[in-house]
């Protein structure tokens, strides 16, 4: 049996799921002050967009969307590696991962 989601689940529901996940990511970035959690919430937002790309790709029969998801994953991996290295450096200097301490560029 080949699974066929697009005959059963309306595309609007998957779009709504993606929107909800994206907004949870936005909420995490706004609510938390731990820099690691903020990075994780950015990953969550990237994943929400990935779902959208994969959905449109599957519903329209065009593989380009899934290639885009692949490239988003590539960029996310590179971003996380550099971001966490920066975070370790920040922790070494300030002994904290609180982003509100890093306000020297404000004003």
């Amino acid at each position: 049996m080949l699974m066929q989601i697009n005959h059963i689940v309306p595309i609007e529901h998957i779009i709504t799921l993606s929107c909800i996940l994206f907004c949870i990511g936005v909420m995490g970035v706004l609510l938390r002050r731990n820099a690691i959690i903020i990075l994780m919430c950015i990953e969550l937002m990237l994943n929400a967009v990935n779902i959208l790309f994969a959905t449109f790709s599957a519903y329209n029969g065009n593989p380009d969307g899934q290639i885009f998801v692949f490239f988003i994953m590539v960029v996310a991996a590179a971003e996380v590696a550099v971001g966490l290295a920066l975070l370790v450096l920040i922790y070494r200097n300030t002994r904290s991962v609180d982003v509100s301490l890093l306000d020297r560029l404000k004003w």
């Binding site: 609007e12 996940l21 029969g61 998801v69 370790v88």
Partner: protein
């Protein structure tokens, strides 16, 4: 069949909420891994087998292990967790909720293509590989340069004597 999708969607949203509201950062990471597993399940339902495997290996495997590793390296736990004031938290929740409202309202009225795709093999490795190495071969090579730059950057940043 559709119940699998709705169960996975519910599970993903629940775990994503736990990521945001969990006080302990290690628990947050573990909940994020569960969210990524549910998203991988949704990829299976979308016939995107390649993305399913890559999601499991790259996201749930590599990236989240990196997060866990850094968390344990920095020795963060519940006691060192910085907190925002209640006003900021309320404002953030309201802002995110309004954003969700706007997004859903906008996307509700869009015209989606109603014809369903007859192609079911576009998510397979063979098909995606053909597309990747013919149409998208230049971005693929650029991605390798990006990885090289990221690797050099993180090694340089991680060195003890930077200055």
């Amino acid at each position: 069949m559709q119940y699998i999708f709705y169960t996975l969607a519910f599970f993903a949203i629940l775990c994503a909420l736990f990521v945001v509201f969990e006080k302990n950062p290690v628990h947050s990471v573990l909940y994020l891994i569960l969210t990524f597993f549910s998203i991988a399940g949704i990829y299976v339902l979308l016939n995107a087998q390649f993305l399913f495997i890559v999601q499991l290996i790259v996201y749930s495997g590599a990236i989240m292990v990196l997060f866990l590793f850094v968390l344990m390296l920095l020795n963060l736990n519940k006691d060192t967790e910085p907190q925002k004031s209640v006003i900021f938290k309320t404002a953030g929740a309201i802002a995110a909720g309004s954003f969700l409202l706007v997004l859903v309202a906008v996307l509700k009225d869009t015209q989606q293509s109603t014809e369903l795709s007859a192609m079911t093999d576009i998510g397979l490795v063979k098909q995606l590989g053909k597309t990747l190495f013919t149409k998208f071969v230049v971005p693929f090579e650029v991605a390798s340069i990006l990885f090289l730059a990221a690797m050099v950057g993180s090694v340089l940043l991680g060195k003890k004597e930077l200055y």
